[in-house]
Amino acid sequence: MYAAAVQDLIDELGRLPGIGPKSAQRIAFHLLKLPRDDALRLARSITTVKDRVSWCRRCFNIAEGGADPEVECGICTDDRRDGTVVCVVEEPRDVVAIEKTREFRGRYHVLQGAISPIDGIGPDKLRIRELLGRLQTEGIEELILCTNPNIEGDATAMYLTALLKDLPVKVSQLASGLPVGGDLEYADEITLGRALEGRRSVSG
């Protein structure tokens, strides 16, 4: 329907997450109308990010260091970080979320996904082998499982717990409970149930 170049662009945009055919078309025409410099700046930032950013070889967070396969992320190279505690998360964006709390001074391990047979993601597709490797070499004492509180995240945490149960490492899981600033009566049954299960004693 469109010139081949335009159709190619629409197809590429349509492959991005959350962008359907209609949005792809709209963005493509927006790009066509854009001054050349603006469009090229977008193209350049895509190339730059692909050239400069890759996965940290240790924790699989995003790391800046070109095509160097030995690159490590800022957190793994930071000596002030406590290397004995490691937070296990699904995606790099979860690292950012936890970093924002400024509560955690340990390091991370990014699984790059969660177990989901429907999507063909089994444990072998996640960075689990690499995690086991780190446990042998890095002197890690505690793992905090911070997978998402949904079915797939839970399954991943349960899988890791089963896998790690005979290893000399302390494994804990992020508490799940009520959002701060919310109302008890608006909490859903499952969240409230879990919060009850994970209650803590305050006296006696």
Binding site: I115, P117, D124, M158, D188
Partner: protein, 381 residues
């Protein structure tokens, strides 16, 4: 609660129509077969659950040849002094859009309760005669109507089963565990074994709470069904054929965890989960004999009505306000005596809105509060 006004545009056979049933008592909708009476019932029911009565996808609900390629339903529902609007836009392609009180609905669960309905339809016979799935969804629909939060429990079960079945299939095909496919007698690769353990544990947690809720519901329904059946059938049945029982039957024995373990080789071979609440059933009996095989057609129909009436009464008591009754062409299936006794047994019509469709006569006891006629996809007063 009652439906104050419904506006339909390009929904099923309707081009544009406006429907304002009487707030209480019976609103009759007449019309020839195929005129679109059931479509009207379906529109009301859709706004209650966002599901088609006939399990059709959204695209099938849009009038063929609708220029916009979409259907619109707008409704006003009165809860005492409170007014709730529920609007739905159905699109042939792309996502449907539902608004409650003008706010876009993000989760189906948040709609539940805005409009509650009890639907009686000729298809209800399959509650008694049909496969277990119909009886399970009878229970599950009631569970959700009684407590909308249970919607999450049901979707979690569905999700866990999908994941577990996908894993079983990929183990068989050798996609999981990176090796050859599993075959009977062969040990499972460790990866698959632990992952399957994980899904089993999830299925046990979700399954056990669903089964507990269903059992409790069956216990609550038992006296209501028996009472409804007794009064619907009295006069036309021998006393020994007036007692009815409901019994929840799980599809395994012992603990669910142990049953899943025992069924694992079988599950792996077939690539589906063969035990769990998704295989359970409710045994229905009339006079101590299974209703599916030992009851007459008339008795089965009466039992189906009794199940719906019981569900309606349970909801009415729990919600403080009776759901809207939707009776789709029900009287044509009943003999005169049963039709009259259904009419007599409809709960307090002075407080309940009942929308009744019929191609023929109404039972003698009916005194409608409003009449509508459907003709060529148009609704006439």
């Amino acid at each position: 609660m009652y439906l104050e006004q419904l506006f339909l545009s390009d929904f099923r056979s309707y081009g544009e129509a406006e429907f304002s049933p009487a707030p209480h008592g019976i609103t009759v909708v007449t019309g020839a077969n195929g005129a679109g009476k059931t479509n009207l019932i379906e529109a009301v029911a859709y706004l209650s659950t966002l599901k088609s009565l006939r399990a059709s996808p959204s695209a099938a609900l849009i009038r063929a040849g609708a220029p916009s390629g979409s259907a619109v339903l707008r409704s006003r529902v009165r809860h005492d002094a409170r007014l709730v609007t529920v609007d739905a836009e159905l699109h042939a392609t792309g996502r449907d859009r539902v608004q409650v009180n003008g706010q876009v609905l993000r989760r189906t669960r948040d709609l539940l309760g805005a409009l509650q309905v009890t639907v009686f339809s000729p298809d209800d016979l399959s509650l008694v005669k049909g496969p277990p799935a119909g009886r399970r969804s009878y229970l599950d629909d009631l569970l959700v109507a009684l407590q909308p939060r249970r919607y999450d429990l049901l979707s979690e079960l569905e999700r866990v089963l999908k994941q577990r079945n996908a894993l079983l299939k990929s183990a068989l095909a050798g996609r999981a565990g990176g090796g050859v496919g599993w075959r009977p007698g062969r040990p499972l690769p460790d990866d698959v074994k632990i992952t399957l353990d994980v899904w089993d544990a999830k299925l046990v947690t979700v399954g056990e709470s669903l089964v507990a809720a269903r059992r409790e519901l069956v216990d609550e329904l038992q006296p209501l069904v028996e009472g409804a059946y007794g009064s619907l059938a009295s006069g036309s049945a021998a006393p020994s054929r007036l007692s009815t029982t409901l019994a929840y039957e799980v599809s395994w024995s012992g603990s669910l965890a142990a049953a899943l373990d025992a069924a694992r080789p079988d599950d792996l071979r077939r690539g589906v989960t063969t035990v769990g609440p998704q295989r359970d059933d409710v045994a229905l009996a009339i006079g101590a004999l299974p209703a599916r095989t030992h009851a007459s057609q008339g008795e089965q129909r009466t039992l189906a009505l009794a199940l719906r009436l019981a569900g309606h009464r349970l909801l009415a008591a729990a919600l403080d306000t009776p759901p809207v009754l939707l009776l789709d062409d029900v009287f044509s299936e009943l003999d005169a005596a049963r039709a009259d006794s259904l009419m007599a047994n409809l709960p307090a019509l002075s407080e309940t809105q009942a929308i009744v469709t019929t191609a023929g006569e109404l039972p003698s006891g009916a005194s409608p509060a409003a009449w509508f006629r459907v003709e060529d996809g148009k609704l006439l007063v």
